[in-house]
């Protein structure tokens, strides 16, 4: 098998920093953030290992829809430093499939979707 599942750690933090124009989106995003995991207009994001440690969360809901390209900037705004310390070595999945933040930059994370931040694995 080839494809993202064989190389999940594409480094979602490597995309270029956002312009300040995106900050409005982020402010709104944070204002509408809810602790209710099934609230409308949100997607679920799961954190593991280093990502879970950095955010101090296993999971949370973030406002949807959100372009995939905006995921890393949004997380950086919510968790300053996460891009360089964590996201550069992480893959990201959307509804059970790995996505490439550059190739799939135009993909929209829809309400009800499930995103996961996938750090380097350590099974066995």
């Amino acid at each position: 098998m080839t494809g993202p599942a064989n190389n999940p750690r594409t480094g979602i933090g490597r995309q270029t920093p956002t312009s300040s124009s995106s900050h409005n989106l982020h402010s709104k995003a944070m204002a509408t953030h809810s602790s209710n995991p099934v609230s409308q207009g949100t997607f679920t994001i799961h954190y593991f290992a280093t990502a879970s440690q950095f955010t101090t969360k296993n999971t949370e809901c973030l406002p949807a829809p959100l372009p995939l390209a905006q995921l890393s900037p949004l997380l950086e705004e919510r968790y300053p430093g996460i891009r360089e310390k964590v996201l550069v070595s992480c893959g990201v999945s959307l509804d059970g499939e790995y996505v490439d933040v550059e190739e799939d930059a135009q993909t929209i994370i829809q309400a009800g979707s499930e995103v996961a931040i996938i750090p380097p694995v350590s099974s066995g």
Binding site: Y98, A116, I118, S122, S123, G124
Partner: protein, 173 residues
């Protein structure tokens, strides 16, 4: 606070009550298990055994009491089943195709695994021993490289593995 929230709304993939998560493909004779209970070796051997198999290899990965010379007090594992089961399937299918195997079972334990107990069990059944040995090693290495499972080692002297250096870090929310 976040910690209260996550305790209240423990996501399903971290809730032991939603396990074991198993997947069986009788056609290809692939058996996958993610479980919070001790691994049952006899079950996995039975899953892949066959009158056509002349070789049955079992690998058990067990938890060590040290990591890089530091005494380990406890190990635990978490996983993301939607991806982990997919990746395990790909690994098992690739091994069957490459080595003409009769059956593959991969089981991984989640949560705390006491020192000396098995965290992963791989059984391979093949016509002959050469293929079974080689496949067993390949499957294990592929699992360690790819499967969406994370180990956390807590040390006797405090601290734990895989941790970020967070000292001095501050967050605003």
């Amino acid at each position: 606070m976040a910690s209260e929230q996550q305790q209240t709304h423990l996501p399903a993939h971290l809730d032991p009550a939603t396990y074991p998560r198993t997947q069986h493909n009788p056609t290809k004779n692939i058996h996958l298990t993610l479980t919070y209970t001790p691994l049952d070796v006899n079950t996995y051997l039975a899953q892949t055994s066959s009158p056509k198999a002349g070789a049955n290899v079992l690998f058990l990965g067990t938890t060590r009491d040290t990591f890089e010379d530091r005494p380990v007090s406890q190990l635990s594992y978490t996983c993301y089943p939607p991806l982990a089961l997919k990746t395990l399937t790909n690994i098992a299918e690739a091994a069957i195709e490459t080595h003409q195997l009769i059956g593959v079972s991969i089981a991984h334990r989640m949560g705390v695994v006491p020192i000396g107990e098995a965290s992963i069990a791989i059984t391979i059944s093949a016509g002959h021993r050469g293929a079974a040995w080689r496949a067993g090693e390949e499957v294990l290495e592929a699992c360690k490289e790819k499967v969406e499972i994370w180990k956390r080692e807590e040390f006797v002297d405090g601290g734990w593995s895989g941790g970020l250096m967070l000292i001095g870090m501050r967050r605003e929310n």
